[in-house]
């Protein structure tokens, strides 16, 4: 009975801190939203305001109205979805090998894959381009393949943990029934790893959606451009149209947000199945 007031105080304290933290977290985003509704003439107003004196939709109209915007949006969606699916497929196949199968040199091979996590993509752009040219893999296909490659290491690592934590009883039973590795992979491991796969989906989608450096060099036709390139084109040599840049970016944020909200229920659960616990 006497624990109650203490617990209430503790909870109140927690809520206050959380809300303060929330303010810190959301303030920049709020400022970006607000600025996207300001006309260019107010961009450097003094004092800066967190609520526009003059509201305008001009930035959104200009940004979205550029007839390519919808096209870039579609391109980014196509590339992101394909990259995500391909990454899920390939990294789950790799993770399965490392989690369940045995052969000489397995650990070494795994560490070689881990190298991919340590190297920044910007370092490899030129040789990757040379490979892409050699195989004639430009535009969207080039994007999809490279995005997948750059994500394999981390996602395989995560999924290996997930698969290792899948309880073995179903597998044991299937093995007794004479099931081969493909069946085990397809019918047992994958279905039980939904949350873990959600993590992979969110990670890869996010990466593909906002990647810029490789898209800049690998896309040869204007009609194939992805959103980040389109937004970069708002910045000309002589002027940054801040309002338009922010307006376009906020619109670009929506799909990722949607994907996250859809999968977030599984997200935390998914991470915990990757075995990053005790």
């Amino acid at each position: 009975m006497n624990r109650k007031p203490q617990r209430n105080l503790g909870t109140l304290f927690r809520i206050v801190i959380l809300i303060l933290g929330l303010g810190f977290v959301l303030l920049p985003i709020w400022y970006m939203v607000v600025t996207s509704f300001k006309p260019q003439t107010m961009i450097f107003e003094l004092p800066p305001r967190l609520w526009p004196q003059i509201w305008t939709l001009k930035n959104y109209i200009a940004a979205l109205g550029k007839d390519q915007f919808g096209l870039y949006f579609l391109n980014s969606s196509k590339v992101a979805i394909a990259s995500t699916l391909l990454t899920v497929l390939i990294s789950s196949m790799l993770a399965f090998v490392f989690a369940r199968l045995h052969f000489p040199g397995k650990e070494t091979l795994f560490y070689i894959f881990l190298l991919g996590m340590m190297v920044p993509p910007v370092m490899l752009i030129i040789p990757q381009f040379i490979v892409a040219k050699w195989l004639s893999l430009f535009n969207h296909l080039g994007l999809i393949l490279v995005y997948t490659t750059m994500n394999i290491s981390m996602q395989t690592f995560l999924l290996r943990g997930v698969f290792e934590n899948v309880p073995r009883d179903l597998e044991e039973a299937a093995l007794i029934d004479g099931a081969g590795p493909l069946t085990i992979f397809w019918r047992i491991i994958l279905p039980l790893s939904g949350p873990g796969i959600s993590v992979v989906i969110i990670n890869t989608f996010l990466y593909s959606w906002e990647e810029f450096a490789w898209a800049n060099v690998a896309i040869k036709n204007a009609s194939q451009r992805t959103l980040p390139i389109g937004i970069a084109l708002f910045q000309s040599e002589h002027l940054t149209e801040w309002g338009q840049v922010f307006a376009a970016s906020l619109v670009a944020l929506v799909p990722v947000l949607v994907i996250f909200i859809i999968f977030q229920r599984h997200f935390v659960q998914g991470i915990s199945t990757t075995g990053l616990k005790g």
Binding site: L86, K133, A222
Partner: protein, 439 residues
């Protein structure tokens, strides 16, 4: 479980088909976007008898034009293609900040565009890397074409005894002054000499109630102080580009930078040039900066973003010897080594320098490099002050290591503004660093 399995199978089927579909799309499809050309793909057709019409050819042209400029470029392309059946021009537009990266990546993998529009400061650098085709002696009618171009812009194409590009468009910087602010401070005309300039900058600054600067520069990179530097007689190196000693740290150069430093110390010049302040274009339109020095693109920028602002141009104030000057900017058109369609590429490059093409691009603010078009009534009226200034404007050092030299001067400017060194000391150090680059 059954639905799960079905879902996964569907998913992997989709992935595989998406990848296959993307793979089956030809790697160099013609675009469907209105911004680019080439409705029909036409790579090398099998050779026919020499007396037949030439094989249809597609050339790639890369650029960093803005939206309105790109639209106009399409018109130029249409005219060119009409006059040259058998050649199609496909364009790729890049964002300015990422253009060099895209070019270098393409060059290092051997898959280059045929023609490209390059910043004039990059031509000698790319030529030094053997990335550009030598034009004198190769481009048909080269000598006639360059006869009509301004010497300043033309000189930016010259490296190591040969020409590696054609001057495509040029520009320079002039003084922009805010008439309303001037009149409020009791000044009726823009400053004509540097002395007047310094005085006006400080008068306006002190007479204002709110924060206001008489003058603002975009940064400390050389392009920003260059007009004042050149107008006051400053030089970076000697004519033959062998040494910087006595030039970048010579008396005129030091005087120019000393004037700027004094303006900065007295708060007549905005501190934004050190980084992270209000941009000059925005500040000028909003009245924070009474004067800036900038280029012809400001007309369109202000029209689109600050429609109520009336922009006023004036020549760069004259230096101690009574002459004005400024810095030459602009772009050259080059042909990349490794192009498979050199003949067609050269035709396109040459076409861009015809009076028709130059007049068309002039309508969107691209100043022609043809001397014969100076004063032509077809030119937008605001060109006049720039073209007048171009008569005395100077090009920056056409050397492959220019960006390092720029950096040396940039750092020197920073050091003197911060008070770490006097202008003379800072420029002495810059001279040493530049000399090392000229070895």
């Amino acid at each position: 479980m059954k639905t799960n399995r079905f879902v996964w199978m569907l998913v992997s089927l989709l992935t595989v088909s998406a990848t296959l579909l993307a793979a089956c799309a030809p790697a160099a499809t013609p675009t469907s976007a209105p911004a680019t050309e080439a409705p029909a793909i036409a790579t090398e057709a099998p050779t026919e008898a020499p007396t037949e019409t030439p094989e249809p050819v597609t050339i790639q042209y890369w650029h960093t034009h803005s939206d309105p400029e790109t639209a106009q470029l399409d018109q130029v392309i249409a005219a060119f293609e009409a006059a040259n059946p058998g050649i199609q021009v496909e364009t790729s537009r890049y964002a300015y900040n990422d253009y060099k990266t895209a070019l270098l990546t393409a060059i290092s993998s051997g898959s280059v565009p045929d023609v490209a529009r390059l910043d004039i400061a990059w031509v000698s650098e790319f030529a030094d890397q053997d990335a550009l085709v030598q034009l004198d002696g190769n481009l048909p009618d080269f000598d006639n074409i360059i006869k009509d171009t301004f010497p300043g812009p033309l000189s930016t194409n010259y490296w190591n005894g040969h020409y590696y590009g054609l001057p495509l468009d040029t520009n320079t910087q002039v003084l922009l002054w805010n008439k309303d602010i001037f009149e409020a401070a009791g000044i009726s005309a823009p400053p004509a000499t540097m002395e007047e300039f310094a005085a006006v900058a400080c008068t306006i600054n002190r007479s204002a109630a709110e924060t206001r600067y008489g003058y603002a520069q975009g940064g400390t990179y050389f392009w920003a102080p260059a007009p004042i530097f050149y107008a006051m007689g400053g030089k970076v190196t000697d004519e033959e580009i062998t040494t910087a000693t006595g030039y970048v740290n010579g008396p005129e150069s030091v005087a120019a930078f000393t004037m700027l430093k004094d303006l900065y110390d007295q708060s007549c010049m905005s501190p934004n040039l050190l980084g992270g302040g209000i941009a000059t274009d925005a500040g000028h339109a909003e009245g924070t900066y009474a004067m800036i020095i900038d280029g012809p693109w400001m007309v369109d920028i202000y029209k689109n973003n600050y429609p109520d602002f009336e922009v006023n141009f004036a020549p760069i104030p004259t230096g101690p010897d009574g002459t004005t000057s400024s810095v030459v900017g602009g772009e050259d058109v080059v042909i990349l080594e490794g192009t498979a369609n050199q003949e067609a590429a050269m035709k396109w490059a040459a076409y861009l320098l015809t009076p028709e093409a130059q007049k068309m691009m002039a309508a969107v603010g691209q100043m022609p490099t043809l001397a014969s078009l100076a004063g032509d009534p077809a030119m937008p009226p605001y060109f006049a002050v720039f073209q007048e200034q171009l008569k005395t404007a100077q090009a920056r050092v056409p050397h492959p290591k220019w960006s390092d030299m720029d950096n040396a001067i940039n750092n020197a400017y920073q050091r003197m503004l911060n008070g770490d060194q006097t202008p003379q000391e800072a420029l002495d150090q810059a001279a040493e660093e530049i000399n090392a680059l000229l070895q």
